[in-house]
Symmetry: D2
Subunit: 357 residues, 4 copies
């Protein structure tokens, strides 16, 4: 998983003209390339390393160099050793804290969404989840409230002050959703829906990219590259369990993937213990395991009445269980020299949250 | 994988009014349902079997009854015990013969497509393959010629008289492609792209549905149900290898899936030994294995110059290898009491192909 | 995974005569059974629950009842809700602390074993590991020093005061090894070597039972039952990674298995992040993940010169890395309300513990 | 999976003195090696290919050379391009025909074994199977009749003239069994029980080596090497299904493994569709698939009364189903230019073959 190429990184102190000089030099040397944007930096992939020797003294020195894996490898940790912070409304993911995003699997009713949102906000979640477009295995299953459900998420955000993420499943939904949502979620079944990835990349909004349950760690990076490639670096990689021969849980949470992504990429990593384990009693141990492996964030299904849920209710925590989880997580994070990400207060986060810097 | 429901099947001899009578009866009995079309039949799912006892004598008797798994289970073999024939231009898949669809993984140039098409037609293929929209793991890989490639497929069809299938990856491409193609292919990475499934289902055109490499036999049925559910019964299920721990081939061809689908569904089953094995020397044994397990059709990568291919060239057969495969398949099919599906002649298939009836 | 039977548990306050009365009663009622020993308790499986109604008043009441899964289900948490403590020389596994067993994959030389043992003891390990019988995939690989290596383990124990476990691979080795070792290890490839399980069970010594990399959570319980069934309750279940499609690490550590075993059994659970991840940089995140999921113990490969190791050197930690791991683990354990198991706090450890302070 | 070494093969026309000359030469040149026996040939692994240049003219030329993978790679097809024939009593496996070994999963009673044996012989099996030592997942399951069952196999052999294979699970059973059995079977759970492999290798008897359900194609070769390494080339590799995420059958039959082994090794390959599929209706399609992929032999569970079987009865064929399978296989084999192995055409079979006509 390496080729012989190199990546030249130029931060914002380098002029665009200087970068264009490099592009012209490489082209004239028979190694044409193009620049990719990574936040405020520009990345130039170089396939023929020898051409660096012939660069004239007028060309600006790159801020850093890194080996490349394929293309521009925009996820590579060596491009941004300090890591990427993803800004989800007032919440930051990737600042060293543990951010918990919680809510129902699917938005069902205004009451269900509002009471669940209030409960998770009360117990320390810093973001909401709730699906309105629900890709389902069988066509006969509840497919979500679609556009009707979006308002309920907006109201829950207004009530709690917490940002929300929601799944987008079709490229043509991206623009309309982008006007409202704080962040997108791309589901496991769509991880290699490349048209969707490109559209979401172009939105520039934060995106939680869930690993396909049959896809590798590297394929997840490749899917992330589709997003980054569009100039969107607000990407969170999410491990949600893979398919294995083991039947004792719904999926097998691959904590090794969490560790590998943290080591190899600059992107924040999330884990979804609810969809992975598929049972409430597995959520706490899997959450603690994921945080132990280095996860920056967790995505937790919570429902005020799981027995009435229209989707995956059998894995949701009730609010008191969620409160217990949060207490346990706070203590565990401290043991790892970290802390739970906290909203400033219930509904009133300041824009300058010093403790999350 | 069974619930307590029942499916009532009404063939074209039963009036729509009679079916509507059943729908009203079930609704009034507190078990509302809706009719689904399966070819010229209508299928009524009944969740509460007891309500059959109260049906009046004026209601027409169903042509057959079958247990249901979920929803309308439109793939269930019990709905159509004789099996479904899929009509791909002049070619029939599912009539007991072995149909071979062959061609390059990706359409690259007019010459490459034409010479490959001519070669596979000469050696007995009854359909062409060739991708113009190529979903690729990395954004930097060749993504297909897109619309420009479509003409090359059309020309190859004109030259050889063979129908072609090509992959569709975005719902909004369906209508434009449907004007030209003989059949669609839905790729493994899109098997659970439900918007795409619905759009392709609505087209009414034949579709080769490739199993996702991380998806189960049952999930493939569920994806097929999305197509059938739109009234399109021209569905071919395609096994193309699954992800396992075994690294000695690209994927593990699951011939058990072929056997299970043949036993449980009325849909024809195809296998793709090229993408599964990933090496030319595995194509023949995997083809013979798939046919042994009951496959109705094979999808084979052939390229006149595999070493120059822009996509998956390392798995393509050269024309002479393909000729050898076809000879071997013809003999093996005979041993199974079957025969290779044959076009009437190179380029001149009559519309009344008695031998394929 | 449940049948209709029941388990009657009689602790040591119940006379053997009383249990024999139950056995006679059940036999006369047409439901013969036999008693199994679980520590100081006796367990009577009852297949026909109705026969309990006819038990006379002279029969002693069982201490507790539990549903059974199969046979006597001697691993079931309901038989011993407080959990089992496994006593490995002066070390206890399963008392709530986190016990770290460390050492080289294979014993190679007296110096290698002694220096490694001294290092891991200094940094807080409470047990030693080191293989002398090494099952290897190919017959040409180093197969261990066999009996010659055993003395080196003994000397390391004398020097450090730490108990050791070592792998046993053949039933006929059990007795001779049992005279010397503190505990056995059964390797992943032998998890279903039932003759070996029986022999080790009969030894009564502690045993670390490694899950086969292709075996399920439930099959591991079944293998554990072979040990328990012989009256040996000193069993530690060890997760060491399973085979999946994911190639980015040697195996996929299944932390869900750790959680499930903790919830369903009374046995302590260990994890082996070294063999699972196969790379030094994965040992710390996988260790923290396993402890987060509830592991009672860790098995860590440490080598003073990994580059010279004859077996799996590429996954071993160097002593300074191990020291860093232990510091991190101590803090993480505190965050979980636990602590690292410590050699000198376990009581009866030898007086020569100065170097381990 | 290749190193830089070479294998020198000397057939029986080369004197042992000549081979010893090579060994001395290589030793004196600083590349010591040892000779391995492969049937009547000797194989010399050479790690440093340069030393061949300095070999004197007095050293005999090797019969052939081959690249080596590891050690002596005694399974490599290049060592014996014509393939190995395994002689199981009067039956030959690996001569191009399709050999069917059939019988009950477990020997249960004299009547069950005898009637099943007579039935499978009547319908064309050329060998019997029947387990007397049954490794079982749970200690409470029927573990086989052990030594008592062996006589029943012997009697079935006497009655039918067919050789039998039976599973051996413990090294110390090998010698006693070797006095009676025609061939050994090593079960999937013991594929990496290396002490067992060595003992069976030393017996020199034919052995069916079943692939572990969590083991790779290459690990199976390595296990075979343990047998070959002892000078025993009478090894049949057996694919019996692997563990995957797919739950629709008991295991996933890996026909790619069959093809890869046929291409890479000189050993005959068997498949076990009964244990793989786990259901009678899957036996025929999986058998045909395996033969299509190149299998030399099949191992089929047959039971006269599956509903009474003590082990895996739910996958056994009844005799009439077996007869149908054999007819179908005969035709399919013909289509592949092969034929079913027949008891009376194998030559030296006993005169009491009347009932097998």
């Amino acid at each position: 998983m390496t080729d012989q190429g190199l990546l030249l990184v130029f931060d914002q102190t380098v002029s665009r003209a200087g970068v264009d000089g490099w592009i012209r030099h490489l082209e004239s040397a028979g190694a044409p390339t193009q620049a990719y944007r990574l936040g405020s930096s520009l990345v130039l992939p170089v396939s023929d390393v020898d051409v660096l020797d012939t660069a004239g003294p007028d060309l600006p020195a790159p801020t850093r160099q890194a080996p490349r894996v394929v293309g521009a490898s925009l996820w590579s940790r060596e491009l941004r050793p300090a890591g990427t912070r993803v800004t989800l409304g007032p919440t930051t993911i990737g600042d060293g804290s543990v951010a918990v995003i919680a809510g129902p699997c699917a938005v069902e009713t205004p009451e269900q969404m509002m009471t669940t949102a209030a409960a998770v906000a009360e117990h320390g979640a810093v973001g909401l989840r709730g699906g309105v477009f629900k890709p389902r295995t069988w066509p006969y299953s509840f497919q979500g409230l679609k556009w009707d459900g979006l308002d309920m998420l907006v109201q829950a955000r207004e009530r709690t002050g917490l940002p929300f993420v929601t799944e987008v499943a079709e490229p043509e939904h991206v623009k309309r959703l982008a006007e409202v949502v704080d962040g997108f979620q791309i589901g496991a079944r769509n991880m290699q829906n490349f048209a969707l990835l490109s559209a979401v990349g172009q939105s520039g909004l934060p995106v939680v990219l869930k690993r396909g349950f049959g896809c590798t760690v590297e394929e997840t990076l490749a899917a992330g590259e589709y997003l980054l490639h569009e100039g969107n670096d607000q990407v969170v990689l999410c491990e949600r369990g893979i398919r294995t021969f083991e039947p004792s849980a719904r999926f097998t949470l691959d904590v090794t993937a969490v560790a590998v992504w943290k080591q190899r990429t600059h992107l924040p990593v999330m884990a979804d213990p609810s969809h992975s384990g598929g049972r409430p009693e597995l959520v706490e141990p899997l959450s603690l395991a994921a945080v132990g492996a280095g996860a920056d964030a967790l995505l937790i299904d919570v429902h005020v009445q799981p027995e009435l849920a229209l989707c995956d209710g059998n894995q949701a925590l009730r609010p008191p269980q969620f409160a217990g989880l949060m207490a346990r997580l706070a203590s565990a994070a401290a043991g790892l020299g970290r802390q739970l990400s906290r909203a400033d207060s219930n509904g009133a986060r300041a824009s300058t949250t010093g403790e999350r810097a």
